[in-house]
């Protein structure tokens, strides 16, 4: 009778392989979810952007190569809406960053009622965007809005066209208002992490509050500012729901377009897919935006060495 050792398989997992196998076995629920719910849809998305898929032609899907990507620069409305995204991002991101930082700084110096103020600033962030949009639409309406009613009481017949001529400003205002809470909370956490001893030492050396802010607090906050900047740019470039909800139809049934000043790129891509059943082109537009965001993010990461403080320095 053969000994047991003789029938044992020749191959044996090394300790390292066993550990790797265990590791992947333990994370497999997440891994499978990631593959099925992230990687596969992304791959299908890439594939769709090279096809003529329109939702109904499942028996006649054709490979169209890079036709949709080549169409983009010739599509006036797509290019215009992308330009608008840059304008909107340039307006929204600095406004949000500066205001969040300033308010967080003030709140870091306030000891009484800090929790109350923090809650009040954070409150708009937890209101659903649909409710926010409809509330502001009602407040800002030219003819019946509360704010224009007040303006009218001061000077009869005067209207501030918040939702039409000033749509971009209004969108920025509402978006910043909604996002301030998040910005403040993160900045506040960063500010509270700065040792008060540093400020005390600077004060002893004769630094005033402004000098302390400029030479100690802001430099030490640059990692947080960097994080917030990247997040804010990615968020702004993908802005979609709010301008659509502020549009004349309130986003209902795609039966109208947003005001031209807030006709952002993602809305155009959305229209291509859901209004025109042009899945291939709509998805291609989204991949183009994705590529632009990646490039901007890479540039930001590269620029970090010049302005973001790290302890290694």
């Amino acid at each position: 009778m053969a000994s047991l050792s003789a029938i044992k398989p020749r191959w044996r997992l090394t300790r390292r392989s066993r550990r790797a196998l265990n590791f992947y076995a333990f994370i497999s629920p997440w891994l499978i979810g990631f593959i099925l719910l992230t990687l596969v849809p992304v791959a299908v998305g890439v594939w769709l952007s090279f096809t003529n898929y329109d939702g109904l032609n499942v028996n006649n899907i054709k490979w169209v190569g890079t036709a949709w990507y080549q169409r983009f620069p010739r599509d006036r409305q797509a290019v215009e809406s992308l330009k608008l995204v840059f304008i909107w991002t340039a307006l929204n991101t600095p406004t949000w960053l500066v205001l969040s930082f300033v308010l967080a700084f003030i709140m870091s110096k306030v000891t009484r009622f800090r929790g109350f103020f923090r809650t009040m600033w954070y409150l708009p962030s937890v209101i659903p965007v649909v409710a926010v949009a409809w509330t502001w639409r009602t407040l800002l309406n030219d003819n019946y809005g509360l704010i224009n009613q007040a303006v009218n009481t001061i000077r009869s017949g005067t209207v501030i066209h918040f939702l039409t001529e000033e749509a971009l400003i209004s969108l920025t205002m509402i978006s910043v208002w909604m996002g301030l809470g998040n910005g403040i909370v993160i900045f506040l956490a960063g500010l509270q992490d700065i040792s008060p001893e540093l400020e005390d030492a600077a004060a002893i050396d004769g630094a005033g509050r402004l000098s302390s802010l400029r030479y100690i607090i802001i430099p030490m906050m640059t990692p947080i500012i960097f994080f917030q900047l990247v997040q804010s740019i990615v968020f702004a470039m993908q802005m979609f729901a709010l301008p659509l909800l502020l549009s004349p139809s309130g986003g209902a049934g795609l039966s109208t377009a947003p005001q031209k000043d807030v006709f952002l790129y993602m809305i155009y891509a959305f229209q291509q897919i859901f209004q025109r059943q042009r899945f291939g082109y709509g998805v291609a537009l989204i991949w183009i935006l994705f590529a632009i965001i990646i490039v901007i993010t890479i540039v930001l990461f590269w620029s970090r060495r010049y302005w973001v403080w790290t302890e290694k320095k």
Binding site: V58, I61, Q77, R137, D142, N152, G253, R276
Partner: protein
Amino acid sequence: MEKKTAKRELSRRDFLRLAGAGASGTLLSVAGLPALAQDSPTAGEASIVMMYHSNEISDGEIEQFNNDNEGITLTRIDTDITRFFAMLAAGTAPHLLRTQAPDIPQYFARDVMLNLQPYFEASGALDFDDLAAPNDYYKVVSPTEIGQGDIYGMAKDWAPDGFMWLHTGLLEAAGIALPDPATPLSEEEVAAMALEVTQKEGDRTLVTGFNTHTGFIDRFWMQMALMDGGSLFSDDFSQANVVGNEAVVDAISWFHDMMANGSMNSPLNPSVSWFGPDYANGQLAMVYTGYWFSGQLRGMATNPEEPIIGESMEAGHYQMHPMFTWKGVRKNLCVTAAGAIVTNPSFREAGADDNDAAWAAFEWFMAGAPAHGRAASGWGLPALKSLNHLIPDDTAFDQQTLAVVNAEFEHSTDVLGFNPNLAGGEPMVPGATYLNNVEAALTGELSFDDMLQLIEDETNFAIEEGMFNI
């Protein structure tokens, strides 16, 4: 139309199915869930899925159907066109699908619908002679020939979609003599009244003259072009003709001019919400929309939180008039004909052989208790003429609207030719291009002629694409 045969090789569709099945299977096994067998029908039972709005068929009605029809289980899922596309790609299409008239040529061209002609012929509940005119949208010879031929579906209800709703209180306040509801206004009279009743205070607009559902704007252009003897599309639907096509340009201009002079809501003078509350609250004098709006107003008037609307209803301020004549011609077509089709079994699970059960649900929805309920609700006119006696006529408002409807029937017999190469949304490509550019045209950044060119170019590009995709 010749049926398309299934491909034998592994098509992309098969790939999608396999990917979907694999993904679902893995997910379920990972989650440790039991297989979905418990939800599957047992032998001899049919499980019918209906994709429809929740406010158009109630859970109670569905439960009643299931109790009355042993062996059939009907379930409703919300209407969601994206979900429908996904189900179609996965070969799990719902049996019954909510549709509108512009969908039908497109669906026919892609073989999405089951031919219901044999079922109608054998039906004891649905009779061809009893079908109201807009059901013709569901009769198809070819993608370019709608209105006759075999029947593929039915309207759930309908209405001429172009009634003029006049707010008599606002017109009287503006010193405008109230027109006779028995006589249609002309297009010039409507535009003049809209401008006259519009009230401004500096830059503020206190009362707007006119508004409509802009999602249907291209359908209205098509109707007006038809009344003028023209068409938005070439006979074979391979071309959109806008520039230089007087019948279409005049229709576009009519709405556009009202937006430009401020008598119609526009991107420069948007409504607070939509025309319903604006009209009901006395901020909008005229609405161009269908009979369904009577149901909307009835609902608003009984809302205790809106006492002003109830009072206006009592005072008779909401009055329905026939559609305006366009260049002297009187028509008022149904441009929606929302209804249902039964999907082609080749798009259902393994070509499911449950057409009879799907038909039973369809027949019940179109001729049974739900159809009676819809007829009596006042949200639309019955798709079966035999149910017309159920249209509400209790109140003065009901009687006024019913009288106008009855007189309008004879002007609602045509069907519009929707393009099989274009998606049938609200709006379609021509309307969407207009709405995307109208603000620039109103502010002068884009000339009116350039906008027309854009509409034509975009639509033709979409048609070319649609022809390639079919």
